[in-house]
């Protein structure tokens, strides 16, 4: 089973990297971008019997730091990828 974990900084946590990317987009002439937040996607190939609870535990123990980050677990359907 393929799983994607999307990790992003919580709202209210300063994202200097996102701010720099925002600034660069403006420099390239893209108007109308009001905010940029940079996150991270982690792709896992896990055994089919892996439980939701185990995936949650992976996120809480290592993949995300829940002091500053939130995470979303997405199970990728086989064949859904082009």
């Amino acid at each position: 089973m393929k799983v994607r974990v999307h990790v992003s900084l919580k709202p209210g946590v300063l994202d200097p990297q996102g701010r720099a990317v925002h600034h660069a987009l403006e420099g390239l002439g893209f108007a109308g971008v009001s905010d940029v937040r940079v996150g991270r996607t982690i792709e896992l190939d896990v055994a089919d019997h892996t439980t939701d609870g185990q995936l949650e535990e992976m996120c809480r123990k290592l993949l995300a730091n829940t002091v500053i980050e939130s995470y979303r677990i997405e199970k990728v359907r086989e064949g859904a990828e082009a």
């Binding site: 946590v13 300063l14 200097p16 990297q17 701010r19 720099a20 123990k61 290592l62 993949l63 730091n65 002091v67 500053i68």
Partner: protein
Amino acid sequence: MSWRAAVITFPGSNCDRDMAVALETVSGAPAIRVWHGDAELPDRLDFIALPGGFSYGDYLRSGAMAAVSPIMRAVAAAAERGVPVLGVCNGFQVLTEARLLPGALLRNAGQNFICKDVRLRVENSQSLFTAGYDAGEEITIPVAHHDGNYFADAETLDRLEGEGRVAFRYVTGCNGSQRDIAGVLNQAGNVMGMMPHPERAIDPAHGGTDGLRLFENALNALARI
């Protein structure tokens, strides 16, 4: 007075030798070097230091990989028993990732790596690490970090301040840290993390010796037990 002090080395640590020199300078006893993959610490340790550097290349988040390395279970157990644990720079990041200290260290607000001497104000002069400083005293210690921007939610920050667990603050700000916090203590007071490098201020040739006193404080605290 001597002690059995250990320095943990992770792959990518680069201040471990400086830390070992500082620990030996105050006590005369060579520091015991411990590798991250060891499952156990040497017995009867009086002091454990987690050094600066870029453990595991800062993969995932600064300190995240080191926080789950085998030796950290032993460090957490030692901290629980009351053994003093000092984390400097990457060591501070490791301690927050291991949840031995509250909060987290974010990328510096200005995006830049900051490497310079900073003025710190001693906020808590009662801890085993800071008892030799005067409350409110200003000292000079160098910083060298990219991810030193201390973050915790307002409730946690209020609690840290209320319980006297802010050890040091930047006098003029530095990296965007909430409430200019440069170093914090755990609830029991035996674990401290700080971004500035006291081990780089132990010899007049370094430009100052304000950091030496921190190690002397810890050694003296041990002598009082």
